[in-house]
């Protein structure tokens, strides 16, 4: 016993966060960060809910004067934005960060500092968005922010800038969280937990993470382009200058539709977890459910156009997207019937989490059915942008996402806090939430069919909408009350609820084998599993290698935070690795980004540049070796034998997937504008210069070769890195020189704007490559023989492959397209149809009248 106690103390010491304010700003533990995500997201739920109550109050009767038009438009914009970006996604991410390491039997996430950084980005981004209320310039363009309404001409206040910068900041948190969770799930599962033994919640998070890495870049790109249009006049979305407002809609919905499933899939994962435990039966048809999760993830990327059925897309295309949208009913149906079969065969207990799950099934299935209806293109011509759609997506998002989140919070609360919430208050909250929800949103279907468009701050008396609206508003108050009861229950429990046992529900998963709340290191001895429900099965006898690995890890070597890598598919023991401890640098990096964004927001160039410089400085500090450059080498020189691939390599790979998708979105924008304006370059603009860009791309390729040499040959490492750096700098110089002497301005035409952004993207990637070269060079000079340095070099090589690929692709596109597409002078918008139409009307200046 004494030995075990001592081991526990040593582990506790190694993993503990410092106390007090220092601990608060520098904690990186997945449980601290996960809890912060959950609590912050819940606060934003209350903020978004308050906004909803105000909206509903305004609509309670016709011609109501409670809110003016401007305030109403601000409130529905912030309501949607808050619920999507600041509540739903961070909430499920926070739950995943807290729970997944426990569920898969590991101690922490693979990149704890990155995780902390994600939280600070989320918090600061959320604060930035809501700061707009204090300045009066509140975003008011709707949560999907269609251009040109949100462009510089029709939204001249800073409101949209708050929106674009705040949302992008929060999206960064989403991307790094996704990357982190994916690497965690793929590399750190307990020995024996093969892919097909993972809990379904973990499956849902894995799929969701993949989706976020691909989907979020599209909206990040769309936002960057719009901010460039607003601040620098680059006309991406301006049809008068070779832009196209529909480009925004495509980019936004390429993100926006997967976004729905990014919220929904983790929620279904929660449902699977809750049903199994509270029906005391494993989920039926596990393999089908896991396959359904993957299928939904893939299909969701093929549906975006069904948000655009009213923009005049050819009927055939509409039908194809309708078919694609309807197919998602199959994987959804599989999940629903798997839950039903489990309930039929199990012995359900009607606890609060289970009630929320039943409420979920009833509501979500209804929302799914109306989803098939609105995916039916012809019917959508009626339903689109009406209250029918409002009803539909609230069925999906409240019924399908909020109910499961509440089920999950109640279910895991004893684990996270160590106290059991009251069942009575929980059931009361369910009753209010469920009844209130349906009273609020069922009538909205009818309102939509009776012609009420969404986003109207008022309506006349003669249209017959008053009764339904009054009922809906009363329902929304009940729903709001239910949420408050739920919140009150948790807060009260947190302060003085009955103490929870380790496993209050008789759960199946590894999370229930930890203390409530878990110790800072989660497991004293890392678990080994042999089935899908480890707690319901006899403990396996691990093989010798596994046993020795988990035994070794019961004592932290030299106080390091050691974890176990396992193989991706079979989860066999791979190697031991260490993660860094508490540090405030993630916070300072996030603050630096905030400084830069505020600089952009208030048009303060110095502040923006200062922020950017601080980001680089903080990032370099962040990338120092464990213990810092000056630390005694003995504390880290004898790191464990490195795996074939360090964890950071996988992290970078996924990060590059996301950055590559940003680049891909820039390319999409380039080609979309090229095609819809009928060929590039526009009249009067020649094809781009060849010499300097070609020199630059050759330099980048040569530098990449040098980086490769540095990675393979230890003796040539330093000179090769120096050479690569010089080549990279030369390429950067050539690019900059070329862009400085462009014969056209990027603000003149969509062509120039897309051309320059694509080139600038390649240059930013190149700068990142050069900075990392600096880190690699420093490591090679100061710690030439360390495994850490070898890992840095592996990562540098991977990055440079990406740098070179980007340079070559961008060079090919910008050089070839103007020469191939012919540029018939065919700016379609040069002979804009609406001019001819407008001149047919009135005195002929209608279209051009100054306003």
């Amino acid at each position: 016993v004494t030995t075990l106690e001592t081991r526990g103390d040593a582990l506790r010491q190694a993993w503990a966060s410092p106390p007090g304010l220092e601990g608060f700003t520098s904690a990186v533990n997945h449980k601290s960060i996960g809890k912060r995500f959950v609590v912050t997201a819940f606060v934003f739920l209350l903020v978004g809910g308050l906004e909803a109550m105000l909206i509903r109050t305004q609509l309670i009767r016709p011609e109501n004067g409670f809110l003016d038009a401007e305030t109403y438009n601000q409130l529905f914009t912030m309501h949607g934005t808050t619920m999507m970006f600041l509540f739903a996604v961070p909430m499920v991410e926070g739950l995943a960060m807290y729970l997944v390491p426990l569920m898969i039997g590991t101690r922490d996430l693979p990149f704890p500092r990155l995780n902390a950084f994600g939280y600070w980005c989320f918090l600061l981004g959320g604060v930035l968005l809501n700061w707009s209320f204090l300045t009066g310039s509140v975003p008011d363009g709707g949560w999907f922010a269609y251009t040109p309404l949100t462009g510089p001409e029709y939204s001249p206040t800073a409101g949209m800038d708050y929106w674009l910068l705040g949302v992008t900041f929060v999206e960064i948190a989403g991307v790094v969280g996704a990357l982190e969770l994916a690497v965690l799930i793929l590399r750190q599962r307990a020995p024996g937990m093969s892919l097909l033994r993972m809990p379904l919640f973990v499956w849902s998070i894995l799929v969701t993470s993949g989706m976020m890495l691909v989907a979020f870049p599209a909206v990040i790109t769309a936002s960057i382009l719009l901010e460039l249009e607003r601040k620098l006049g680059l006309p991406f979305y301006d049809p008068g200058a070779g832009g196209n407002p529909l480009l925004w809609q495509h980019l936004f919905w390429i993100f926006g539709h997967p976004e729905v499933y990014i919220m929904l899939l983790p929620a279904t994962g929660i449902v699977s977890a809750v049903i199994a435990v509270h029906a005391r039966r494993r989920i039926v048809a596990y393999e089908l459910v896991a396959a359904a999760l993957v299928a939904i993830g893939v299909i969701s990327f093929g549906l975006w156009v069904h948000h655009m059925f009213a923009v005049g897309i050819p009927v055939l295309a509409q039908t194809l997207f309708a078919v694609a949208s309807a197919t998602i009913a199959i994987p959804s149906g599989i999940q629903v019937f798997a839950w039903l079969a489990t309930l039929l065969q199990g012995r359900p207990r009607w606890t609060t989490p289970m009630l929320y799950v039943v409420g979920f099934v009833v509501t979500f299935v209804a929302g799914g059915i109306t989803g098939v209806m609105v995916a039916a293109a012809p019917f959508d011509w009626q339903a689109h942008d009406s209250f029918f759609v409002v009803a539909h997506f609230h069925y999906v998002l409240i019924g399908g996402v909020l109910f499961p989140i509440f089920a999950g919070l109640h279910h895991w609360f004893p684990k996270m806090v160590g106290r059991v919430p009251s069942e009575g208050a929980g059931r009361l909250s369910f009753l209010l939430v469920f009844v209130g929800f349906h009273v609020a949103f069922f009538p909205q279907h009818i309102l939509g069919l009776r012609g009420m468009p969404r986003r109207v701050y008022t309506y006349g008396e003669a249209v017959g909408w008053d009764g339904y609206n009054a009922v809906s508003t009363i329902g929304s108050y009940l729903l709001g009350l239910g949420v408050l009861v739920f919140a009150y229950n948790l807060v009260r429990t947190w302060r003085r609820g009955p103490v929870a046992p380790d496993d209050p529900w008789g759960g199946d998963g590894l999370e229930w084998s930890t203390a409530s709340p878990p110790e800072v290191h989660n497991f004293r001895r890392l678990p080994v599993v042999a089935g899908r429900a480890p707690r319901w099965e006899p403990a396996p006898v691990p093989d010798e290698r596994t046993a020795s690995a988990v035994t070794t890890l019961t004592v932290p070597e030299q106080g390091r935070r050691q974890q176990l890598h396992t193989t991706m598919v079979a989860a066999e023991v791979d190697d031991v690795f260490s993660v860094p401890g508490s540090t405030p640098w993630p916070l300072w990096t996030a603050v630096s980004i905030a400084v830069a964004l505020v600089g952009v927001l208030i048009d303060h160039a110095f502040l923006a540049v200062l922020g950017a410089v601080l980001v680089v400085a903080a990032g370099l500090r962040w990338t120092s070796p464990p213990g810092g450059w000056r630390a005694d080498p003995s504390t880290w020189a004898d790191l464990e034998a490195p795996a074939s691939r360090p964890g950071g390599w996988h992290g970078l790979l996924l990060g590059l997937v996301a950055v590559g998708c940003i680049g891909g979105s820039f390319l999409y924008a380039y080609f979309y504008l090229l095609v819809t304006t009928g060929g590039w370059p526009p009249p009067g603009v020649g094809p781009p210069a060849v010499l300097l860009p070609s020199v630059a791309v050759a330099g980048v390729v040569a530098a990449t070769v040098a980086v490769g040499v540095a990675g393979r040959r230890v003796e040539a490492r330093v000179p090769a890195l120096v050479l690569a750096g010089l080549l990279g700098l030369a390429a950067l110089g050539a690019d900059a020189l070329d862009l400085a002497n462009l014969p056209f301005s990027p603000a003149d035409h969509g062509y120039g704007a897309a051309f320059v952004t694509l080139r600038a993207f390649a240059m930013v990637v190149l700068v990142a490559g050069i900075l990392v070269l600096g880190v690699a060079l420093r490591a090679s000079l100061r710690r030439p023989d360390d495994p850490w340095t070898a890992a840095v070099l592996q990562i540098t090589r991977l990055l440079w492959v990406f740098v070179a690929a980007t340079a070559v692709v961008v060079w090919s596109v910008v050089q070839l397209t103007p020469r191939v597409s012919g540029g018939e002078g065919g700016s379609r918008t040069g002979s804009v149809p609406h001019h001819s139409l407008a001149t047919g009307i009135g005195s002929g200046t209608g279209g051009d009248a100054p306003r």
């Binding site: 005391r280 039908t319 039929l344 209608g846």
Partner: protein
């Protein structure tokens, strides 16, 4: 009880009274096809939903013992039947039907259609009839019954969307593009319409009226719209015309046949024939008109018309002139 049931059904299904907008009270074949599709989908969807809830209730009522094996066959079978077979059986015929309806209601304009151009502006609709170059109107679209109509839609500022629920689905008005909405109305009447795409502060106040009338009446209406304004018939109205030009109305509004040629706001040549003021926000009555002229911002905050400080006598004359523009 029966009457109560009928009334309840009416409330739940949203049956609209005359004059109230509703996609389920079709005024013509186009909207009728969409409404039929809705009723069919509602019926099928309700059955599917009831099925799921029935299984759920069954699960709640019956208590079973024992923990079935993970690969339990009967459970798997339910999942395959409900999750794969059921959606396929329901969706394949439905999708085929949807494809047929969509094709039949294609918005591609055809040769013999009545063509009407509609331009969206923040926050009103500019309307022109193709068969009479100067037949210009605003916020009111007249169509003949029994003839296919194609609207040619575009916008000069932000994206709007044209929606008259009783008549057809909606189509967006997009700057830099021309989109089409093709439909047929069979039942004469006056139908309310709305801008359905959020377009700024007065999105809610961007409404319209669609008037379906017999072909003769329609032709008369368009012919009249094409004419210049008649000379004021009464002295007060003539005085009002001077006020119109003096206080600056003419800098934004046109009255064809006079010097007033502003093009920022709606053409007022046949203003008195319109049913509404401010793009469907209030009825075109004398009182509403006076309120609108003096303080349009009070009626529809955020629209582009500035308040007009007109003294009472001038206002009388101005109203007389405007009411004379038939």
């Amino acid at each position: 009880v029966r009457r109560l049931a009928v009334a309840l059904t009416a409330v739940l299904l949203g049956t609209a009274c005359a004059g109230e907008p509703s996609a389920l009270d079709p005024a013509g074949d186009t909207a009728a096809q969409l409404a039929d599709l809705w009723w069919l989908m509602l019926a099928v969807g309700s059955v599917v939903w009831a099925l799921v809830v029935a299984v759920l209730v069954r699960a709640a009522m019956g208590r079973r013992d024992g923990d079935g094996e993970p690969g339990d066959w009967s459970g798997q079978r339910l999942v395959v039947a409900g999750g794969i077979v059921l959606p396929v059986v329901v969706l394949v015929p439905l999708l085929l039907l949807i494809f047929r309806v969509a094709e039949g209601l294609s918005h591609e304009p055809r040769q013999d259609d009545v063509r009407i151009q509609v331009v969206g502006e923040q926050f009103w609709w500019r309307v022109a009839y193709e068969n009479a170059a100067s037949a210009v109107d605003a916020n009111e679209v007249h169509v003949p019954v029994g003839r296919p109509v194609t609207l040619e839609l575009t916008s000069v500022d932000v994206i709007h969307s044209f929606w008259v629920p009783n008549v057809a689905g909606k189509t967006d008005l997009i700057p830099g593009e021309t989109t089409h909405l093709r439909f047929e109305v069979d039942r004469p009447g006056v139908y309310r319409g709305f801008c359905a795409e959020f377009c700024g502060i007065q999105h809610a106040g961007m409404r319209l009226v669609l008037v379906a009338q017999d072909a003769d009446e329609f032709d008369d209406h368009v012919r009249r719209l094409a004419q210049d304004a008649a000379e004021p018939r009464e002295p007060l109205a003539a005085e009002g015309q001077q006020v119109f030009e003096r206080v600056g109305c003419a800098s934004c509004h046109a009255v064809r046949g006079t010097d007033a040629a502003g093009a920022v706001g709606p053409d007022l040549t046949h203003f008195a024939s319109r049913r509404t003021i401010g793009a469907g926000v209030v009825a075109n009555t004398r009182g509403n008109l006076a309120g609108w002229v003096v303080d349009a911002q009070g009626v529809k905050p955020g629209n582009r018309m500035p308040p007009q400080p007109v003294d009472p006598e001038d206002l009388e004359a101005l109203l007389a002139y405007l009411e004379d523009l038939e």
